[in-house]
Symmetry: C2
Subunit: 506 residues, 2 copies
């Protein structure tokens, strides 16, 4: 190939964030595109410093790239560990063999473990574009995965990343399927369980579209951005932790699939089971409690859906050697009072400290879940767990353990005080009959949650509250006056976020 | 909403070509993103000068966008008719109701015309991202569309764009399903049919991944970039034309679907039927001949596949009021000699001029197809068409008509002469037993086809040729010495593009 110029370009950082889609940007008149026959939307194998991935080609018609330069989306940039000026080598992406298995699934065939394993491996290696992932998810949806396939998919997802080993026989965990706003039970549950002596190394997520994830809320009270080594030290010392899962590479396939599922608004049973259980198995859990709120506006709408899903979760867990128990709960309305990291942190500390003003619904839910988890322990009889959990909470052991965990994670922090607040009052007397969760969450986000910890909404009148005209309904909290204005501006255009009915009518 | 700054930004052209995916680029620290809660990969409704579309959000972390600015991908830019500095208004994209129908299809339900119509309408309006289109295509693949659904989908695609009316009862057309390299029969067929007096307003495509499309080849001989008015004038005068279909907006849904199908390498029966027939019906055809090459490396691999597909094509055509006939042909090897626009133009002119050196396989195929099309005419008896076609070709009427069509389209052009050529010789004696179509097409593309008209490959030794050592196998043609070098450089690293077997063995 002596006559042929090597297809090498220099990297320039344009800083374009496409989320998790690797994209390569090249000039339309680039000699490499011409020579190699690269066309817009082609899939290219991109190599930088010996690392490779597959990226989709976007062309640049303007001068934002100089001749001889190419750019990468931020995700591709960080995956390849690229630096400004690095040499970049390009070729047509090799054909992806496992896409044949996806086509086979589309045509209604059953896939074996090897085929599902190859698909998951190629997805994690970045060989699938979003278009391919969407096709795979669609082909598996609509109950088109049988029980064996769900088990094989779950196993493949576990094997796609690291797997933790805690060196203990009983390692418990919990997960909530389709969470409710304010349902921040996890830190309370971990404190109770760890105080009892069971091992509960909890990794949680940050918010993606909600005003707070458990990791965002917990970060108000202690550092959560721990590496695996520090996490281990915390768990060895205190039996439990509540850290952000993002720094531990467990079930990386799941993150890639969930992002496309979200865009499709498609959450099939098989994918849901594989997603939840692969994370738990990879995290080294032996026993998992699944909290499943059921309600007309919740993710799981009927008891029948809950039963089918429970059966899949329990059977798949059993096939992969872990014990799974599903607890259905009321999913008809939000939990607690605060929406936003600091406000939710305040609520959960208030429960742990047994304050009389603590939100009782949050407390009851945490006790139910902790009770079920305690019953995973061979020493705890069925039906005794909740009473034990109540004892651990009431006598202060849970609060003490929570403080110890926070110290071990890097130090308990004070909850920051709100800076700019505005009380929203009832414009008439009556009874609160409904709260629009979606829109109240939007107000919290417009006010700055979750990136501003203090931002959010504090609900003063849950459903059922009888109120007078002028009585506070909720308070908007923000970091800056400008953000408070944004949130209030939104409120001005909205009616009935909190519905009040005449007392006679209610 | 008096307190709330309006979410307006100024447009800046970054010139990023994402093919047909609308993307909006905003700064990560943009006050509008913050205020509205826009996150990377969100779907936004973008409004410029009163026109709107839905785009996917990419964030910019660097300084390529100034504060207060936003950018659009080239596709979104041209669809919105945007200009530098225009004001751009943004909001969350409204939820797309028809995605519920896609989910319904995923769960195995049959969709009615209204539902399929709503899906196609939303796709054309730009409300579906590639992820959504991929899901729709996957849900319909694997024989999951029944005959009624195929008819409804085809009708919806016809109605998604303009529909031509030629004011004549008999309007014929042809289409090749899964073309073969060099199979450039269309201009010959149109010339014969138009010379006979039937109306054949042919729109063709440019190459997407091949070294030449019919429009690229025809452009060597005459202008093909005609608007609808000029096209009508040509057809009224000469009964036929061969123009580029890109300037006429027929079945725009098809272009959007095909692009994702290509990425998925998924071509389901239902989509294929809807794609082919929607274009033909929208183009105003009453009678369509489908050329279907069948062979082990062709798109249609078995006669059984060909029969199933033929039935769907004929039934769907009948349901929508057009007459469809399928002609299966040999799909085992390439057709003609030249690969690349000018070389293919030379071949087809040579056939039209009845030159003795004209490629006989191309001539025979064109006569077969023209014969079948002539039989659509009430005045032509079954079995007589081919003989009539031969007469029209042999007595020079076809060549005369072709010249007249070229003149009407803007003037017959001389075929440009090759500038830089290199003959590739056989390194041993024997018989040519196979030609790798994929790799020989790659050589033609590396040499510059189709954008350089003269570039391509001229085959001198079709399968079955007995050759001596040193005898020419093929010639590479290029516009510049550099491009010739690229193509030759590629050849150096390749073995067996043309397989030669010992005469004894062959």
């Amino acid at each position: 190939m002596k006559n042929r110029p090597k297809p090498v370009l220099k990297l320039k950082r344009l800083g374009i964030d496409t989320y998790k889609e690797p994209v390569i940007y090249m000039r339309q008149d680039c000699h490499v595109c011409r020579a190699e026959g690269f066309e817009v939307q082609a899939r290219l194998l991109v190599t930088v410093n010996g690392k490779s991935l597959t990226a989709t080609l976007n062309m640049i018609h303007n001068g934002i790239l100089k001749p001889g330069h190419a750019a990468l989306s931020e995700y591709a940039w960080s995956k390849l560990g690229a630096r400004e000026g690095d040499s970049i080598h390009l070729s047509h992406a090799p054909s992806v063999h496992s896409l044949g298995h996806v086509r086979s699934k589309i045509f209604g065939n059953v896939l074996d473990s090897e085929q599902l394993g190859a698909i998951v491996k190629d997805i994690v290696a970045g060989h699938y574009s979003d278009i391919h992932i969407s096709s795979f998810l669609t082909a598996c949806a609509g109950s088109r995965l049988n029980e064996k396939e769900i088990v094989a998919l779950t196993r493949a997802m576990v094997e796609s990343g690291d797997r933790l080993d805690w060196g203990r026989k009983l390692v418990v965990d919990k997960h909530c399927v389709g969470g409710l706003p304010g349902n921040r039970t996890t830190p309370i549950v971990v404190a109770i369980i760890a105080a009892h002596g069971l091992t509960m190394p909890k990794t949680s997520s940050r918010a993606i579209t909600s005003p707070a994830g458990t990791a965002d809320t917990m970060e108000v009270l202690a550092p959560v951005d721990l590496n695996l080594k520090t996490m281990r030290r915390v768990v060895e010392k205190e039996n439990g932790c509540i850290v952000w899962g993002g720094s531990v590479s467990i079930s990386p396939a799941d993150d890639l699939l969930i992002r496309v599922e979200k865009a499709l608004d498609l959450d099939s049973e098989g994918q849901l089971v594989a997603s939840v259980l692969s994370k738990k198995i990879a995290a080294g859990s032996s026993h998992v409690l699944i909290d499943m709120p059921v309600g007309p506006t919740a993710k799981i709408r009927t008891l029948q859906m809950a039963e089918t899903l429970s059966r899949y979760l329990e059977q798949t867990g059993a096939a992969l050697g872990i014990s799974v128990r599903v607890h259905t709960s009321d999913g008809s309305q939000p939990v607690g009072r605060g929406i936003g990291p600091a406000l939710e942190a305040r609520d959960l500390v208030s429960v742990l400290r047994n304050e009389s003003a603590a939100p009782q619904d949050l407390r009851e839910r945490a006790l139910d879940l902790a009770g079920h988890i305690l019953e995973f322990s061979p020493g705890v009889k069925s039906g005794q767990g909740r009473k034990m959990a109540l004892g651990i909470l009431e006598d202060g052991r849970a609060w003490k353990k929570f403080q110890a965990i926070c110290e071990a994670q890097g130090g308990l922090r004070d909850i920051p005080k709100p800076k700019n607040t505005q009380i929203i009052e009832a414009d008439r007397a009556g009874e609160v009959v409904a709260i629009d969760n979606r829109r109240i969450a939007r107000v919290a986000k417009l006010a700055g949650a979750p990136s501003d910890k203090v931002a959010g909404v504090d609900l003063h009148a849950p459903v059922g509250t009888k109120i007078n005209k002028g009585q506070p309904l909720f308070t908007v909290h923000a970091e800056s006056p400008g953000e408070l204005d944004y949130a209030l501006g939104y409120l001005e255009g909205q009616q009935g976020i909190i519905s009040i009915a005449d007392e006679a009518a209610a």
